[in-house]
Symmetry: C2
Amino acid sequence: MNSKFLCPEALEIQSSLLYPDSGLIVCDARIKELYPDFFAANQAPTCLIAAGEDAKNLNTVQSLYQFFLRNSLGRSDMVHVFGGGTICDLAAYAVSTYKRGCRLQLYPSTLLAMVDAAIGGKTGINFHNLKNHIGSFYPAERVILHKAFLQTLAPDELRQGMAEMLKAHMLFEELPLPDFTGTEIPDEEDLLAHALYKMSVCQEDPFDKGPRMLLNFGHSFGHALESHSAYRIKHGDAVAAGMNMACDFSLQMNFIDRQQYNARKETLKLYPYPAELLDYMQSIGFEELYPYLIQDKKNGANLRLILPVGAEIKLVELNEV
Amino acid sequence: MNSKFLCPEALEIQSSLLYPDSGLIVCDARIKELYPDFFAANQAPTCLIAAGEDAKNLNTVQSLYQFFLRNSLGRSDMVHVFGGGTICDLAAYAVSTYKRGCRLQLYPSTLLAMVDAAIGGKTGINFHNLKNHIGSFYPAERVILHKAFLQTLAPDELRQGMAEMLKAHMLFEELPLPDFTGTEIPDEEDLLAHALYKMSVCQEDPFDKGPRMLLNFGHSFGHALESHSAYRIKHGDAVAAGMNMACDFSLQMNFIDRQQYNARKETLKLYPYPAELLDYMQSIGFEELYPYLIQDKKNGANLRLILPVGAEIKLVELNEV
């Protein structure tokens, strides 16, 4: 963490990619393939990483440290990170711990990263199959949304971001729902609305002690599903499934009545769950997820979950389950 | 880093060791040997570490993560760290990055750690022979000074702390000088004066962007000496030697006149330099240290050093050396 919390991160929409004029680049290998012109023109030393949960470990972090060291990265030098959530989380963690923190600018390349992962300063890597178990709070100085990146996204990846937009809508109805048919990418206005919503919640609660926790709706069950499936289930899909499980659990515990349950499920039904995920959701019970749930970072001695309670969504602490 | 910067660390003198009533303990193996009664009575899960610069690496950090994981450490659980500077730096780094930061209390066991290393939130481990190259800003909630620890310190170790007290005196004359004959350990009043001085400078400038940098007087040359000697020269000794080199450099650059030089050297002469160190100081030239100096965390493109300039001690940026 650093003083950037005192001067909050800035958000910017860029219609064409600008060359970073100095500093280092960390980049998802696929982005370099998709945008060869940009990277041919660019002179900054570049470290390519093959994206994916597998890359989010201490070994990759060490190879980033080595890249920084080879290129004499100083504290006041900028690291420009191009990539989806995993690359942003991973590279931001490395930047935050190198020389106790260097300068950081994020260029999220997926919808998920644009509306969620790249915003709010949570960095992280996995440890022993536990997601984001090691990490820091380290917001980027600027998060740059470059809409063209979305045009090269597979529908599968676009859906992952839509899941977070669905979650944000569940928490704050005024936020627009995305086009779940996947025929259109979100327009600039919707993108900004979602990114700014995330940013405002995080700035109100940078260290995740209060209202920000609600953004984890669907995430406790979701992370557990991701871990249990050894990351075969993708993050957005897992969150969408997790919100369903949270509603089921709330109904079971009488935190919500049948009518409230149906209303929430109605909205959640809009999400285009892949068939494989639906099968998985039906085959897995709460007992199998429990060991993963108690490893969740939010938990102390007791299990804490974000759940629908009446008309609200709240953090609930469960003493005995 | 975390919100603790908003509620600053507290300092406490304890006349007898109290059992932590909950949480985990990370402890220098030697302290457990020296205080068997305390550790026999204590029930908290304990991880022992053999102190020394060799331990300050990512492997030890991983073994701490594993200890935390095995004992289901939660974000709101406390980790109590007993040890000198290396153990405090290392364990605090692990705590700061585990689940993005758990609770931390430090019980520094050396004079150096009491008046310097344990205070102000700098954590760190070494990387590729570069000292504290990876780290975070993460102040402990409380730093507990237990004077009895000083009675079991070897004179050699006591001297390392005295070097930092000498440095603090060079920066702020009102601070008492320690007894360099090494026959008496500092009294409570002097200990507190030095610890509080460090704490006040750090709280004014938690992220090391301004006045706190001056606390690095002697450290750029000192760290370079430590690295160059592969940590054969101890930190305090290296800082004492480093302050001499800084004065020599300032005289050479005409930043101070002969009279100012002599006055500073007069005070620095009080330090009981070991014979081996004096030999080392005479045998090594600025050219050999230069590669280590430019790796210093304070440096961007230009070399930046804390140097005597006239009657002051200042951060100086050198464009061409």
